[in-house]
């Protein structure tokens, strides 16, 4: 079970800012995205723009294998606009 955080446009599309989701312990970043989209289908439209932050490290959506621990923070990161 991981904590999923939503920001900016992804929070608007998902309709919430954080939740706990059950996901496989080992999963590629793309598979993790697909698990999340099953719960929030409206997120599909931003798939090409987002990255993840897993335990506060950026991860691109792709083949990278993630090893998740219970309570890990996974954040959906839409294109940033600080400064």
């Amino acid at each position: 079970q991981v904590s999923v955080l939503y920001f900016a446009r992804s929070a608007e599309l998902a309709g919430l800012r954080c939740e706990t989701l059950s996901v496989p312990r080992q999963v590629t970043s793309l598979q993790l995205w697909e698990e999340i989209v099953k719960v929030h289908p409206r997120l599909a439209v931003i798939r090409d723009q987002v990255v993840f932050a897993v335990r506060q490290e950026y991860v691109l959506l792709g083949d990278q294998l993630l090893v998740l621990q219970p309570g890990d923070e996974v954040a959906i990161i839409p294109p940033i606009s600080g400064g």
Partner: protein
Amino acid sequence: MDESEDVPKDFIELKSEKLSVDEVSELVVSPCCGAVSLFIGTTRNNFEGKKVIHLEYEAYTSMAETEIKKICRDVRQKWPSVKHIAVQHRLGVVPITEASVIIAVSSPHRAESLEAVMYCINTLKASVPIWKKEIYEDEYSWKENKECFWTNSGK
């Protein structure tokens, strides 16, 4: 003045109160430094012909602070003479012409602090998880920095 207190420091703050240039400059002033360089990011009142009413910022706060710390660490590697670095970013509603970000760097001579300030703001725009929403008269828009390191326009 106790010189042992003047160790290089990073001052990083994300807050919803109005930012103060005086306060941020004061943080980095140091007796050994002849230069303090500043960048202030202010909110513009227009975008592509649309009137901007105000901006709203949100952040993944804990990660944003960590990413800014990484930027400070990089600055110190590239410009070892840099003394103090202060980065303050405002969150929540920012009215037009008010500052959304202030960066100040002190160094003995001006070249390093000027270059370091530019590096800080450019890298912040590329990698720090903060988002800006522009509020227009009848709609709004989540902005995307062209510097964002994973979008096509950043390549």
